[in-house]
Amino acid sequence: MEKRLPREKLIEMYRKMLRIRHFEDRIYRLFLSGTMPGTIHLSQGQEAIAVGVCANLSKDDIITGTHRSHGEALAKGVSMKSLMAELFARSNGCCKGKGGSMHVGDIDVGMLPAIAIVGGGIPVATGIALAFKMKRLDRVAVSFFGDGASNEGAFHEAINMGAIWDLPVIYVCENNLYGASTHVSKVMKLKDIANRAFSYGIPGVVVDGNDVVAVYEVARKAIDRARKGEGPTLIECKTYHIGGHSRSDPRQYRDKEEEKRWLAKDPIPRMKKKLIATNILSSEKSENIEAAIEKEIDEAIKFAQSSPSPKPEDALRDVFA
């Protein structure tokens, strides 16, 4: 498959995954050191999904995220500086400090403030797609959500509505095997969430969520289909979140064998290995990429930390238009 994609695209997807990884590694440390307020949910291990899907989108397409959306935000084009400033609760954060880690987003690049009510973004993305269709715009909406979200009523109602109206919306389920501490096998009997698509009469596809090219390809097809007016697709990306649910999660509820198996599938080393094996990436180039990312992160942190805080009374603004 990789062969069909230009080298630059492959390297770019690799770089974008790595950028998310380093970004999250760093904020995790900032968070643990107490420098960063609030709570965080990291997506290490799931970067291939955000990157593979968003590589098919333009700024005008709109995505909805969840409590775990730093990766989607970076992949969709939210500037790292404004993202970092948001996490630091600064007034030039992407939500001016009103959002925080669970609500990152910037409509200027096509991402709503992430919706942290599990499943809550699915109807909203469906409504966005409805607007696109009514306005005859060649745009798609993408809703990212987890395995756990697929047990919410919102999932059922919204996908059914997206389906009956053939809306240009893609439902991307990041099945990382857990909703918080709860293993997916405890809370649903079917093996592939993608098969829930059947209830709505739309295609459901399972893809290796740790293979960015596979995700890219599957998303591309679904998005093409949606743009052609043929309606939504439910894509289930099988993946794993390396760091667990949130903050400093000791992950004692996880089976160690399972963890090991999945860590071996980490999408980033996997992609790197492939790129090197196919001579697309040299180790020099690889180091340059890492260095550039580190530099960008340093700068973003510097930017954020030197940014002003909102004024207390700013709390009163932005309620009504």
């Binding site: 709109i62 709503l112 403030p113 309620v319």
Partner: protein, 347 residues
């Protein structure tokens, strides 16, 4: 644009349902981004929603803009939020207000907050039409719900009591850039069903008009006591006022028309004159919007009030089915007469 007084326009006598329909039709003609979404609103051979408001509109605007949905209230609300965010102006509805509890998450966590969470980058111009009030259908098709929404920052709350207000306020709601909860009382639609309805028809000009939010209407001037009421209770207040006049008590009746924003000024001015305030709503007493209004008025007009603000509201029970109990449950003009007399020490 706002037309507060009707002058030389041609007037027609419309029911509330007709007035609402006309508002929707005019706004849909004016602005392509306006559309309706809800259950059974546009089905050919159907009813135009539970209360005929959208009857015939799908013939003019097609089924894409009068969009029939599955029975999925959370979905409807969430889709309206999304469509609004992406530049449309949805008018969503639930067939009976009681079903709105299924959509609360989308309305409160998303519609009311996304602008704030985005620090002002987004807007959510949507209208949610919510029929309320007891009408002989039992506990799950009868509630008055305004008070829940008065408590939600980021939502506007509108309660028209007659055809003229209904049209003018709905047009304003549709053009408003914020989520507007638009409450319609089932017995005021003017549908011709059996045992249904008060005549809430009214003169509606042919010329276009809009009514601003936050402007109360003094329905009747008076000197002795102020009665603030909304929706169906406006009629109870007006007939109580007539009765009280016979007894020599002069009542000022005010319909705030919108609860968020609220025209406190007009109410305070009235209380300054009458020194007595009675608030009437069909919503349950405890935690109802009457408490908020009473508290605000008391706080501003403490020295003018001769007696504490009195509330007349439905008791703190679900809505009973049997008409004899339902009638007891819903406040009526006799309750107001009795209370007014007692407030004036004349009972």
């Amino acid at each position: 644009m706002y037309l507060l007084k009707v002058k030389e326009n041609k007037l027609r006598n419309l029911t509330v349902a007709e007035a609402l329909r006309e508002a929707i039709r005019e706004e849909m003609r004016r602005d392509e981004s306006v559309f309706c979404i809800g259950e059974d609103i546009g089905i050919k051979g159907g009813w135009g929603g539970a209360f005929t408001v959208t009857l015939g509109l799908s013939e003019e605007f097609g089924h894409e803009r009068i969009l029939d949905t599955p029975i999925s209230e959370l979905g409807i609300a969430g889709i309206a939020v999304g469509a609004a965010l992406a530049g449309m102006r949805p008018i969503a509805d639930v067939e009976y207000g009681d079903f709105i509890f299924l959509a609360m998450d989308q309305l409160i966590n998303n519609a009311a907050k996304l602008r704030y969470m985005s620090a002002g980058k987004l807007k959510v111009p949507m209208v949610m039409r919510i029929p309320v009030g007891a009408s002989g259908r039992g506990a799950q098709h009868a509630q008055s719900l305004e008070s829940y929404f008065v408590h939600v920052p980021g939502l506007k709350v509108v309660c028209p009591s007659n055809a003229y207000d209904a049209k003018g306020l709905l047009k304003t709601a549709i053009r408003d850039d914020n989520p507007v909860m638009f409450f319609e009382h089932k017995l005021l639609y003017g549908a011709k069903g059996r045992r249904e309805g008060i005549d809430a028809r009214g003169e509606v000009p042919e010329e276009e008009y809009l009514l601003p939010f936050g402007v109360a209407e003094i329905k009747r001037e008076g000197e002795d006591v102020t009665v603030v009421a909304t929706l169906r209770m406006v009629y109870a207040a007006l007939s109580a006022a007539e009765e009280l006049e016979k007894r020599g008590i002069s009542v000022e009746v005010i319909d705030p028309r919108t609860l968020t924003p609220l025209d406190l000024e007009t109410i305070l001015k009235s209380v300054h004159k009458t020194n007595r305030l009675i608030i009437v709503h069909e919503d349950n007493l405890t935690g109802g919007w009457g408490a908020e209004l009473a508290t605000r008025v008391t706080s501003e007009a403490f020295d003018w009030l001769d007696v504490p603000v009195t509330r007349i509201a439905a008791p703190d029970t679900p809505v009973p089915f049997a008409p004899i109990m339902e009638n007891y449950f819903v406040p009526n003009s006799e309750d107001i007469v009795r209370t007014a007399a007692s407030v004036l020490g004349k009972s």
